[in-house]
């Protein structure tokens, strides 16, 4: 074996090892995060009253008489804000992606993409600030309600934060559909909208689903903006004008006050485990759906 050949083999081996390390590290980090969150909360797990935990709306982690950890209202808060955000963000996001990818003149496309990417770069605390100072008075004024920090405010803010993610991933998915599909559909006498609806959307559905689910993930996991925009009231909402508190906002707001290794501190980590499980389930469902579609 010549020297040059040896070097090539060595380089190949090194690169392979490095790339494998990168791949493995992702797995290591995910398990690492789960491990540390779990470690902080685990010894509360056997002692927790799960019935109360999941069905009670009473969240009194610092009560002098009887401490109560009921997260039903927090779950309802997270759920309501996320659902509203998705109801707003998915149609707008997918619509914008279809426009940018299929209907927009090339010059305007570039401008729009830059602006949409700029939207994704706004820090969440700034969104929260907008929720507090712009949306709040606006909602009070428009709907004549006493307080504008509520599900509607949080939902709109979260929708605004999710739209750029949905747009850019959905647009990539549509762009990845080969042009030959478009040409074939047009050659068969389809209009542009028929082409989008009958050919491009089915062809890009895996990517579009990924876009929507990343948007959902963002909405469930977002903390700072919803903390500032939803009013922070432990309460099951009956309308979009009710203030709520989400799981994430609770963890963020109370983590600093809870004495380390107290039950209060641990229950916040249990909420962390729950959030982790929720996002895992969302991803799992997405994965199974995509597989189901593929095998059909």
């Amino acid at each position: 074996m010549s020297g040059r050949r040896k070097t090539a083999v060595l380089t190949e081996k090194t690169m392979e090892a490095l790339i494998r390390l990168c791949g493995v590290s992702a797995v290591v980090f995910v398990f690492g995060i789960f491990f540390f969150v779990f470690r902080e909360g685990y010894d509360l797990l056997p002692r927790l009253d799960y019935r109360e935990f999941f069905t009670s709306i009473e969240w009194y982690p610092t009560s002098q008489n009887r401490v109560r950890y009921g997260i039903l209202a927090l779950l309802a808060g997270t759920f309501s804000v996320t659902v509203l955000a998705m109801l707003l963000a998915v149609p707008f996001g997918l619509g914008a992606a279809i426009y940018v990818s299929e209907f927009c003149p090339p010059k305007r496309r570039e401008t729009l993409k830059v602006i949409i990417e700029l939207l994704a770069a706004i820090p969440s605390v700034v969104w929260g600030f907008i929720g507090l100072t712009v949306m709040n008075p606006l909602i009070i004024y428009l709907f004549r309600v006493p307080i504008g920090l509520n599900v509607l405010n949080g939902g709109i803010i979260l929708a605004l934060m999710s739209v750029p993610i949905i747009v850019s991933i959905a647009e990539d998915a549509l762009k990845a559909v080969p042009d030959t599909y478009r040409e074939a559909a047009l050659a068969l006498g389809a209009t542009r909208w028929q082409t989008v609806y009958r050919v491009l959307l089915p062809a890009a559905r895996n990517g579009l689903l990924a876009a929507v689910l990343l948007g959902v993930g963002r909405a469930i996991g977002e903390t700072m903006a919803v903390l500032m925009a939803t009013g922070h009231a432990v309460h099951i909402p009956t309308s979009v004008f009710d203030s709520v508190r989400t799981l994430t906002a609770t963890v963020a707001a109370e983590m600093g006050e809870a004495p380390v290794h107290s039950d209060h501190y641990k229950v916040l980590f249990v909420i962390g485990i729950l959030l982790f499980t929720l996002t895992f389930l969302v991803n799992l469902i997405a994965d199974l759906t995509v597989r189901g579609i593929r095998n059909k």
Partner: protein, 254 residues
């Protein structure tokens, strides 16, 4: 020639993409029920010519077109309904494109767009087209499986069936044999011989022998210019009008 005998009249057609000229002053007539082969090396403008015919060229933003193209005497650039025009022209792409739907839906796509809804009518169209494309026997039991799961040759015949589904008067094939084996190629060539009774066929091909086998007339394009068009016998004889034609079909260059 009398006007009625021309299915397609192309006169002084020039197409530019930005600063690049794809077709230069091409004038060409095609008679009804004729098989016209278009041969020429890569980048000679063959595909562009087909894209002009069904006006899909205009979807690629920077294309500029001059000259006129008439189908049945009507200027296609002024045709009121571009979708009707596209249905009149069946197009088969070089690499088969099974649209992301079932075999049945692939063929029923165009009729549905045109507003044909009754299931029985669609069933009849699907069967007729798949039979014409010599695919029916192979797929009749699995019409609901995905079109993109077929083999390359089957997909190519599926695209031919699809192109026939809107009952085109002109069938354009763009190097249909790239992805398929010689046996299937011959089968499709036989199919084309059958189809010519009903329609005019434009066959763009890299295989000069294919042109020789089935075309009535052959046009030779080179760098966007029409070098020569004439009866296939003459083009492939020892004495075509142009020396370049002789060189190309005899493999001396290209």
């Amino acid at each position: 020639m009398v006007t009625a005998q021309k299915k397609i009249e192309i006169s002084r057609l020039t197409v530019r993409f930005g600063s690049k000229t794809a077709l230069k002053e091409v004038s060409l007539d095609v008679a009804p029920n004729e098989i016209l082969a278009v041969i020429g090396p890569a980048q000679s403008g063959k595909t562009t010519l087909l894209k002009v015919l069904n006006r899909t060229l205009e979807t690629s933003g920077d294309a500029v077109m001059e000259g006129t193209v008439r189908i049945d005497g009507e200027d296609i650039m002024r045709s009121r309904n571009v979708y009707d025009l596209r249905r009149k022209v069946g197009m088969v792409a070089p690499l088969p494109v099974g649209l992301p739907m079932s075999i049945y839906e692939n063929v029923a796509f165009a009729p549905r767009q045109a507003g044909i809804e009754p299931r029985r009518e669609l069933d009849a169209i699907v069967e007729r087209c798949l039979r014409q494309a010599a695919l029916w026997d192979e797929v009749k039991d699995r019409l609901d499986s995905l079109g993109s799961k077929l083999s390359g040759g089957q997909q190519q015949r599926l695209t031919i069936a699809r192109a026939l589904s809107h009952q085109p008067e002109i069938l354009c094939l763009d190097e249909f044999s790239i992805a398929i084996d010689p046996v299937t190629t011959h089968r499709i060539e036989d199919v084309l011989q059958e189809l010519r009774r009903e329609m005019t066929i434009l066959l763009v091909t890299n295989l000069v022998q294919q042109a020789r086998r089935i075309a009535d007339r052959t046009a030779f394009l080179l760098n966007g210019e029409l070098v020569e068009v004439g009866p296939t016998g003459r083009i492939f004889s020892d004495h075509p009008e142009q020396q370049k034609t002789y060189d190309y079909v005899h493999g001396i260059f290209g």
